[in-house]
Amino acid sequence: MRSLISKKENTWCVGCGNFGIFSAVRKCLQKMVEEGHALEDIVMTSGIGCHGKIFDYLDISGLYGLHGRAVATAQGIKLANPKLRVISFGGDGDSLGEGLEHTLFAAKRNMDVTLILHNNGNYGLTTGQASPLSNLGYKGLSTPQGNVEKPFNAVTLLMEAGATFVARGYSAKIDHLADILHKAVMHKGFSFVEVLQPCVSYLNTYQLFNQHTALLPETPADTETARKLARDPQTYYLGVFREEQHRVYHEEVLSSTAVMNPSQRKQYLKDFQ
């Protein structure tokens, strides 16, 4: 299998959690190729932020979208060619701030794409401002007196919106994350993976996550249990919180009629009059 790393110089900070995500994604793709999936049928979209640089480093096709809009773009790709597996990378500011509507609607529709949320708890690329997932009291350039908004809980938010696959990983547990990503991409329906990602420059959470993460023993049997575990105040549980099968959007909404070529279209319009 060819290398999945492009020639582009990597400019993530030394120790950035994005490296772990990048490794896990490559492991996931490698496994998919070994299972017989063609690389040319896997595409990505990304938003704007530190996470988005993965677009330049990961040597597969895709669209480096607008800030907040990559999940919408991913959905357009899926609707245009359902054969493609579409992986969208988003930051916490990107997918839960600027583009929250698209994230929630992708889940609501059960659109068959994957959203990998690089949750570093701040806006890294614009020098560490508070994000929708920053904790109360977080001090950044835009909140020097401390963040006064409570953060979203990404896992419970997406469960509520209707995502049929919801999971959480940690960028420093690469094999576990790769396994979750693989399940997510292979899931039929909307899959969401929150990745806890330390930001060495503005919010170094390695110690916190190394001490306070634990693997879910199994996928919780019901939403109530899942929600409780996802909100646990002491422990960041890692693993799959929900995995369900529901009807997927493109199979419901797309026309099943065969697409007509130019001369068929002309003939149709002539007959139609």
């Binding site: 040319e40 895709g62 669209l63 607008l66 809009r69 357009g76």
Partner: protein, 558 residues
């Protein structure tokens, strides 16, 4: 003296089925070989208020409706009061017996009969169809068949109610001075502008349409959604305009012909992604149907305030295409042309139109034979580079997941400035190279567009009048009564300078639906014309022929 043009106006509250009744009347006129033009004047509400629909019919081609109706059918007091004064000399005004205000109206027991014929509710607006059929001597059986076909709910009640109104009207033996029916065959199908835009784009390969409802563009979404299985097209109602256009660019990336549509407000939201289409070089068709602004403005009326907005859509520098259909046939062909031109140049294109064309209807023969075949060449390069530098500025295309890629193909579309590979860059020389490449497409687009009809000229009178979009329709109807030369740039960007060279520096009258003479300013900039007079209308209404003739005469004599 018999009339050449006959106009029917149906007025009443929203929710009473007025527009549908007018459509059926238009359809009846068409099958009796009359040309028709229908306009709907309605408010942004679902029940109550005052709505009216107008259908003009004639044995000649019509480009607009007339404002002095020969037949008014009023379903409430407000309609009686409002439209009595507009009635043409010798015209007839029917209303419910309870709403009649003077001897000028012909009272019918409409409400009473509705109660008699329907156990509950009832479809009052059918009375207008029955009155029309009776006056036009359309056989009763034909009316019954039409009503049975068009109004399937409460079928028996509908027919018995309509028959009673029909007989009451017939027994009055009224003379109209107008006859339907003529030997010549005329184009036999009624289309709105939006339907023609949708079909035109589809003829050029439209696969998916993404939109958030906004009047007056919504009916494109409705029409394509309804035709999903017949046309094998996808119409997706997204969570917002932002979602619509970002999805549409994604669909282009995957190799599908996609379009979005909205009005000014929706396009304001789509600006950033329109700019993205310029940057990633997505061949995106955008349909911008204008209404009076700013902001929410006047939702259900017509305007041309968005000319410069369309020309400058999206931030940053990149080639744009903007063109505006001057008639219904052009709505069809232009939508098709623009989608092809967008693909040939990998640039976003805007079809700029107005409520007056989008939502009015007329009988049209689809100019199917004028369509070109569409085709998208796919690169077979083994060392594919999405943004390969070329002389034309247009880079070869390749799409993932279409079976013509290999494992090593990497197709990267990028909203950041990029290298030929599609990978992001901020290197000075690379920025210049890529900007120059995109800018070269401007010339390419201009050359490619020359095969299309970029300027239309109607009439050959002394005065030169410039207009664009559906204002040209209003002027063509006025031309039947006053001679002038109407010059219509269909393409606004690229501007058809060569075709318009003869008008450079000329003194002209400019007609537009805006309070500021934007189109005149645009023409001054492009052609250094001298504006003899600006004829501006900005009350949301379209002009009638006589209003325009008066305004033009005044301008000529000034």
């Amino acid at each position: 003296m018999s009339k050449q043009i006959y106009t029917v106006l149906i007025g009443g509250k929203a929710g009473e089925g007025i527009k549908k009744a007018a459509q059926v009347i238009a359809h009846l006129a068409i099958i009796h070989n009359n040309h028709v033009f229908q306009t709907d004047d309605y408010q942004s509400l679902i029940k109550g208020g005052h709505n009216f629909s107008v259908v003009s019919m004639s044995q000649q081609r019509l480009h607009n409706t007339y404002k002095s109706p020969d037949l008014v059918i009023s379903f409430d007091k407000r309609s009686v009061q409002r439209h009595e004064a507009e009635l043409s000399p010798g015209g007839l005004h029917f209303c419910d017996e309870a709403d009649a205000e003077s001897e000028k109206q012909i009272p019918l027991p409409i409400t009473k009969l509705v109660k008699q014929h329907y156990p509950e509710g009832g479809n009052m607006s059918l009375a207008s169809i029955a009155i029309f059929c009776a006056l036009m001597r359309i056989p009763e059986q034909h009316m019954k068949d039409t009503i049975s076909r068009e109004f399937k709910r409460n079928l028996n009640e509908n027919v018995s109610f309509a028959v009673e109104i029909y007989r009451l009207t017939s027994n009055m033996s009224l003379e109209l001075g107008f006859k339907l029916s003529l030997e010549q065959q005329i184009p036999a199908k009624l289309y709105t502008g939006n339907q023609l835009i949708a079909l035109g784009a589809w003829a050029a390969g439209l696969d998916c349409y993404f939109s958030y409802p906004m009047t007056p563009a919504s009916s494109i979404l409705h029409y394509l959604a309804l035709k999903r299985d017949k046309l094998a097209v996808s119409a997706v109602h997204t969570e917002s305009e932002l979602a619509a256009i970002n999805m549409a660019v994604g669909a282009c990336f995957a190799g599908k012909r996609a379009a979005v549509g909205s009005s000014g407000g929706g396009f304001a939201l789509m600006q950033e992604a329109f700019s993205m289409a310029g940057m990633v070089e997505a061949p995106l068709l955008c349909i911008l149907s204008s209404r009076p602004g700013p902001a929410t403005g006047v939702s259900t009326f017509t305007a041309q305030e968005d000319l410069y907005f369309a020309l400058n859509q999206g931030h940053g520098e990149f080639p744009r295409i903007v063109a505006s259909p001057d008639c219904f046939e052009r709505a069809f062909t232009l939508a098709s042309e623009l989608l092809n031109l967008a693909w040939a140049s990998q640039s976003p294109a805007i079809l700029l139109t107005e409520k007056h064309l989008s939502e009015s209807a007329t009988n049209v023969k689809l100019p199917v034979d004028d369509l070109e075949d569409f085709f998208t060449p796919i690169s077979d390069s083994e060392d594919y580079q999405r943004y390969q530098i070329t002389d034309s500025g247009v880079s070869p295309l390749k799409f993932p997941g279409k079976g013509n890629c290999s494992d090593s193909d990497v197709i990267k579309w990028n909203t950041n400035e990029h290298l030929e590979s599609g990978v992001r860059t901020d290197a000075a020389a690379a920025i210049v190279r890529m900007k120059d490449k995109r800018n070269r497409k401007q010339h390419t687009i201009n050359e490619l567009s020359k095969k299309y009809k970029r300027v239309e000229v109607y009439g050959n009178g002394e005065s030169i009048i410039f207009a664009y979009g559906s204002t040209a329709l209003e002027l063509r109807e006025a031309m039947k009564y006053h001679s002038f030369r109407l010059v219509v740039p269909v393409y606004l960007e690229p501007f058809p300078e060569e075709e318009l060279a003869e008008y450079r520096g000329k003194s002209v009258i400019v007609v537009e639906h805006s309070s500021q003479p934007n189109f005149a300013r645009f023409l001054k900039e492009k052609l250094e014309i001298k504006v003899k007079a600006n004829i501006l209308r900005y009350d949301g209404r379209h002009y009638s022929a006589d209003e325009l003739v008066e305004a033009i005469r005044e301008a000529e004599n000034a």
